[in-house]
Assembly symmetry: none
Homo-oligomer: 205 residues x 4
């Protein structure tokens, strides 16, 4: 029964990706076997291998997939008007992290991708690309901070962006491993460390 619709193909692909994410988030990248993925997806070995030509390809695909929702949430916040203060922004992002950290959630794959990137050059490329994409948002944010006067015109926006972004892994890890932080923790911490950023003029809705 050849000649199948593009849509069918895409649905199959997503079905496999979903199954793999569930498995990987639950058991880990290496501990999950392809047989696990076959079982979770309800598809045969041959079917899965038609869509992803190796386990590594599946991992690579998910590595990218894992950050898209988080990226979207951050993107919305960073470009919103009026510009959120750093505590506000961190709160929004932290909430997205929590939302995407359910069992099987995409955020649970992120630390695994970081880890893999340290020893697998192939995965490192994907992870670097994703991290660069996220960091771009923070660069834009810090530039908007300058525009708005929250940072001086000669501020080292690069360093500020990298530093702010750096708070995110710390939150993800403490949330997933220690389980004793929540968005408010991060927000309060930032509020007390940073000076108060205040909108001098209310931006029009």
């Amino acid at each position: 029964m050849p000649r199948v619709s593009e849509e069918h193909l895409e649905r199959r692909r997503q079905q496999i990706l979903d199954a793999a994410q569930t498995c990987f988030a639950r058991k880990g990248l290496h501990t999950t076997t392809m047989q696990d993925v076959f079982a979770e997806s309800g598809l045969s070995a041959g079917a899965v291998y038609r869509y992803f030509k190796s386990k590594d390809h599946l991992i690579a695909a998910l590595t990218t997939e894992a950050t898209v929702d988080l990226h979207a949430a951050m993107s919305e916040a960073v470009y919103s008007d009026p510009l959120p203060t750093p505590p506000e922004l961190m709160h929004t992002v932290a909430e997205a992290v929590v939302r995407l950290s359910t069992p099987g959630g995409a955020v649970r794959l992120i630390p695994q991708a970081w880890s893999l990137a340290l020893t697998d050059p192939n995965i490192a490329d994907y992870v670097r690309t994703n991290m660069a994409g996220v960091r771009k948002l923070w660069f834009d944010y810090t530039r908007r901070m300058v525009d708005i006067g929250w940072l001086p015109p000669d501020a080292d926006t690069d360093a500020v962006a990298k530093t702010l972004l750096g708070l995110l892994p710390g939150f993800i890890l403490q949330y997933l491993i220690m389980g004793d932080v929540d968005p408010e923790t991060l927000t309060h911490g930032v509020e007390q460390l940073f000076p108060t950023f205040r909108h001098t003029a209310v931006a029009p809705g």
Copy 2:
């Protein structure tokens, strides 16, 4: 070669741990085979298994070992006099990260331990313990910040500590994966985000 000194035993143990760290840092926890460890250590299978009863035990031992140097460096900074400002402290810690990130360095194991902790409850215990140990340092630091007047007496020191600690994973990952941050980046970022903390009275040398 029986009836061997306690010291000999300890040296052997360390020899294995060193070999394993080199392998794990280079190839990753799962990709490293015990054969790799045998070869790197110059010991036989039986010899290694005399000291560590499984690969998991070796991983667990290294998981703990991986943070001791970093912990020591942080400890020295946190309890030093006069109290370092946050940018100063971050600089010290970031430099320790860099120093311990050489090929085969202990810091390269840390993200792998984080990753493993998400799916292996056994390792999670070790990682939690280590993370709690490090966080204790930051709690102490934030309490000293209050004592010195850098934070108000009613500051949420818990949140501040968790937030500050959170900068560390971000630095480690950006340093190891992106390679475009250095201790100065972090220091500058923190300097520009945080208000200036100044010692009002010079502590006696």
Copy 3:
């Protein structure tokens, strides 16, 4: 070679069982390696493990299998008409033992199963079940002996059955280890020890 008939699966299973029996009978349960079984069966490791999930499962399956032919031979004799005399019955059973004791024969596995049952509770269950099944035949036989008048109505048929069954291991072991007994030996021995059992009336066909 997927989507294979039930029959094919059963044939494969039997192919493995046959190979394993040959190996086990030749080299012993513990001395036989799985590699031996792969080689003897002409199948790969993976193929064998698809049908039996461990060496122990293979042993358990063969432990049961080892007695079925003997059980069948005994069953036929025990329920035949007219009732065979004890010497006749022993002769029939002894002949079955001899027939099944060729190199690679099932009977060669039986003492190994007995041995294993003494220290492996898992195998002990299988062996007990099989032994109980065989003993049931002797219980039925002794009850028929009572019916026919060869034993008094108040005879301790339980003890008689256990005693008669007890002759079997002795024959098997002397046949396999000493090699100087044959069905006639047993028959003669029983004839001379036991009183003459005679059918007083010819049973109708």
Copy 4:
């Protein structure tokens, strides 16, 4: 500290044999490791290997050792005066079996030796020798039966001896594996199957 007394050597040897018997009876010949024996005996690897040059030598020594007590018990009964009837003899022997079947008891090694003899020619020699020794007792017994008139002068004493001996393995196995026979069971079974053997003249004490 060289030049140790003969007696000391023999004591050490026995110490090892005892430890090995305990282990073998508990875990089985193959499952028991030499490390188990070292631990049970409280001796070092080197010490054990000074007395037995391989695990196989230890097994061979125990294989012979396993039947000596049983042999002695049977010997006493067979040569006693007046001649015990078959039921009496079986009772005596069965009681010896029970007595020597405690955890760690020698009888628990016997079926393991039978099993090993089927595939290990070296052990088969030992087992054959032991079995021949035991059978010699039964030959003598059946000859005494003829002398006393319990069997006709032209009786096939060889077949009778082999048949009677054959009851022993059956009892041992049913006792060890099924656990639902005792000396009385065997005695009753023999009594009911065999004609009554009666001493026509009382033998002088």
